[in-house]
Symmetry: C2
Subunit: 343 residues, 2 copies
């Protein structure tokens, strides 16, 4: 591994994603990416008695499916790096219990998807392990209940609000032995906290946009690349409110984002015209995870994309910090992935 | 970095701890390790208006003190790996905001101390950065309020209960350039989840003991060492109930722990005879952090100890998982540290 600039790791041994999984709920199954998901639950309950147990079932299913898709026996897996939005990341810890391998719990709110992928890639790249699973999850009913109001209340939301994705995405990172056409994890740019003083938990896109712009700027400064190097750059879950703000901030920084397709996982996962209930778009740990591990990796494998940069954004508030009048610290972690054909 | 067996990383570039800090509350300041702490707050309020803001002040103070003790300018610090017990690890995220460097949030309950040290050491060892700060915190009043009852209720506790340490400990991990007599981070053994079905949040020592025994067993299996290699092996916070259970489990595994001094940070930090209110002993993320970064590192530097193994234990429950009848998944992460004189 090699440090580029101050915030970026280049994975010089080019670890690969041997297989991944994307498991979602019924609403994501009605969205435009439905055919890219491995499994779609037909109810939010998922045959469990509580929302939290449902989220756990979701995460456990995704983690086992990733191993199957990677053609790796559970016994061969060496490390699991995971986290989620639940207090004390219980969904992840229960999934870790089922996997039975050494477990590093992480938390970066919705940036957890790329934080866990960056750490899993570092483990494999630096010789710490042969196979490491990275994964995360979110469930609409657990997250809304914990951070805002239980969905059963049917409370109204402002037009800046986003809709928590019910989904879990996992990826098996393995050493690159040159065989197979696996997507390669090229680099990771770790984000620092950006907090512009916003305090509204119904306006996450605005709060997180500066973190996304800061990490993207750092990525190009550290690597010396320009946006045109990538066919696609996606933010995690800025949605319809946050993405234009990030675009404005990046334009001010002089980053020529017009060289590439710059989109957002929270916009890709739903049809905002038809699925009005998602308001500004998707959010939650599961959002960038299932869009990346379902949709984007499939496009890389098909050759429709060659190089992508996934910039997962996270709002690191707690209901209590918000109630105590604190602003929302935000972070974004970026991971660059390219198709196996590239060298 | 080199993988030993399946669970252990050997840090082949021998990263060092350039400086560390241990900041505690008034009760820890009345304990036997008082003279080893860098700063002792004389009230639990720490001049803040809420317990959570107090914990944040504690963590921020410890993180900045570690940089001072390491003689590193804040601007030189490259990564911060931190976590705590609060929902969404807010204490850590607010400390990260103050530090202004790329931030990896982690959660392993009370094992967070060694999880963060292991990841920070991996970053430095594998060339991902020159300086990485690892740290964690806990505060008696935030943790008791969140996991059990607000301390203001004055509720009674059973004799198996432990007392959450008010403390934050941080360490600056840096590259080993051969100069100075800095403690060396030699290896880390990452733990897997052990869950024997216990459900009592007032009996964490019993719940966590199997995780500690499992990780210690894995460490000696992976490294080929025996307990006599270390002058001291400490568990994180098994306290008076859990430590004897871990000893029994290790005896059953045939690990000759009698070759070394085998103790527990939760027993070292308080005088259980005089400080009756701690009941079975200390617990919380801050417990193993301040005992390691205050007491044990000082003993290593003085030459009183040559090689130590810190086995931080964590109970990965949430109040909600417990209320839904779930058992407590536990984990332990071990890090081996030796004095700089060793080669």
């Amino acid at each position: 591994m090699k440090q580029l600039g101050s915030q970026t790791w280049e994975f010089t041994n080019r670890p690969v994603i041997l297989g991944s999984s994307a498991v979602v709920g019924p609403e994501e199954g009605e969205g435009p990416l439905a055919s890219d998901f491995d499994f779609i639950f037909d109810s939010l309950e998922m045959d469990e008695k509580t929302w939290e147990k449902a989220e756990r079932a979701l995460f456990e299913k995704a983690s086992l499916l990733a191993l199957i898709n990677a053609n790796i026996d559970k016994e061969k897996l060496e490390f699991f790096v995971g986290g989620d939005l639940m207090n004390q990341i219980i969904s992840s810890s229960f999934a870790a219990r089922k996997l039975g391998v050494p477990y590093l719990g992480v938390f970066g709110a919705c940036s957890t998807s790329m934080e866990s992928l960056a750490i899993a890639s570092m483990i494999v790249d630096s010789g710490g392990g042969k196979y490491a699973l990275a994964g995360t999850s979110s469930h609409n009913c657990t997250v809304e209940k914990q951070f805002r109001y239980p969905t059963e209340y049917g409370s109204q939301k402002p037009p800046t609000a986003q809709y928590t994705v019910t989904g879990s995405g996992c990826a098996v990172v393995g050493q690159n032995d040159g065989s197979g056409n696996y997507p390669v994890v090229v680099s990771a740019t770790l984000g620092r906290i950006m907090d512009l003083g916003l305090t509204d938990p119904f306006n996450m896109g605005t709060a997180m946009a500066p973190a996304a712009a800061d990490t993207i700027t750092a990525h190009f400064r550290d690597t010396g690349l320009s946006p045109g190097h990538y066919d696609l750059i996606v933010t995690g879950d800025l949605a319809s409110v946050g993405l234009p703000i990030a675009k404005t901030l990046l334009a001010k920084e002089g980053i020529p984002m017009e060289q590439t397709t710059f989109d957002d996982c929270g916009l890709l996962i739903y049809d905002l015209e038809k699925q009005k209930y998602v308001i500004a778009g998707g959010s939650g740990c599961g959002c960038s995870a299932v869009v990346t591990y379902g949709h984007i990796l499939k496009r890389l494998k098909k050759g429709e994309l060659k190089r992508v940069l996934i910039v997962a954004t996270g709002a690191l508030l707690s209901p209590l910090s918000y109630q105590q009048g604190e602003s929302i610290p935000c972070v974004a972690h970026a991971v660059a992935i390219e198709s196996g054909g590239e060298a």
